[in-house]
């Protein structure tokens, strides 16, 4: 499996992501935002950071970058596109996923470990998890408060496209476990064809035992298995 990790000038989790993919046994390379050639990547990852400073709205400017035209094309043709944190915001702004991000309900940057529940395992990114598993995983964002209108939310729920939800330690879905105020506790959603995934928490930061955090590791394993590279 070859992951192309997009580097916008303000990306700052690009190197972390490459490291995590490689530590799981995958291959990863960087794709500069001014490029248009995806160089044969099997999966495009939009990493965390502040793509173009994001002073306007997170992800707003990134969507007009040369690389995003190719990424959108790639997704339209059924390619795998995975947006983490800022990458998720870029996916929303570019219309690859529905909805929008608002400022956290606390009106503060949220940088801590939180809990999410795996809602669906029938995606290339999550089939190595058990449904209902609770993951402890870091978040680091100011605008992670997911919003969509009622119809969109209903559709997402009906099509079982909510992949991760913020929860309490024991998996309970509640306001208490929903620190940024996202509607329906949404932490991650996928596209209709289930091949584009966006999530606010950072699996690449929970992929190393020395950091005391490994719950994100299975995402890379899922991808590798999806491409038939591990049993």
């Amino acid at each position: 499996m070859k992951c192309g990790v997009v580097v916008f000038p303000g990306s700052n989790c690009d190197r972390d992501t490459v490291y995590a993919v490689e530590s799981a046994g995958g291959e990863a390379f960087y794709l500069w935002h001014k490029e248009t050639n995806l160089r044969g990547a099997d999966c495009i990852i939009l990493p965390g950071g502040f793509a173009y400073g994001d002073y306007l709205r997170t992800g707003a400017i990134a969507r007009f970058s040369p690389i995003m035209k190719s990424v959108i094309d790639f997704a339209d043709k059924g390619g795998l596109v995975f947006g983490i944190c800022n990458g998720f915001q870029v996916l929303l702004e570019s219309g690859l996923l529905p909805g929008a991000m608002m400022i956290n309900k606390t009106l503060k940057f949220l940088g801590q470990d939180i809990f999410i529940r795996v809602e669906e395992t029938d995606t290339p990114y999550t089939h190595d998890y058990y449904q209902g598993s609770v993951l402890r995983i870091p978040v680091a964002h100011f605008e992670g408060n997911y919003y969509a209108d009622g119809d969109t939310l209903n559709l997402l729920e009906k099509e079982e496209r909510v992949i991760f939800r913020y929860c309490e330690r024991d998996g309970k879905i509640s306001e208490k476990g929903n620190l940024n105020g996202s509607l329906n506790n949404i932490a991650g959603i996928c596209s209709e064809n289930r091949r584009v995934l966006g999530m606010m928490p950072h699996p690449e930061r929970a992929s190393a035992p020395i950091l005391g955090k490994s719950d994100g590791f299975a995402m890379w394993k899922s991808l590798l298995k999806y491409f038939g590279e591990v049993a």
């Binding site: 929303l92 702004e93 929008a100 009106l107 919003y147 209108d149």
Partner: protein, 78 residues
């Protein structure tokens, strides 16, 4: 040619920042504050072009970049 674009949340969307400002104002004694909504604005200067053309271009920018139609509305004032 100068114009301003005002962007704010749609009425149906909660405005947590506005609410926080309102509470802050109430708490320091401005009791008559009934509501606060917060938004942003862009002051845009365009090189020589007609007013109509400026308005057209700026409205396009507002739609495409300066606001997110899922949550925001905008107003262009020349």
């Amino acid at each position: 040619m100068k114009a301003r674009v005002y962007v704010s949340f749609k009425d149906s969307v909660l405005d947590p920042q506005g609410k926080a400002v309102k509470n802050a104002l109430l708490s320091i004694g401005y009791e008559k504050v009934k509501d606060v909504r917060q938004g942003k604005f862009f002051q845009i200067e365009m090189d020589d072009m007609s007013e109509a053309e400026a308005k057209r271009q700026i409205t396009e920018m507002a739609e495409k970049i300066l606001s997110n139609p899922v949550i925001e509305k905008f107003e262009v004032i020349l």
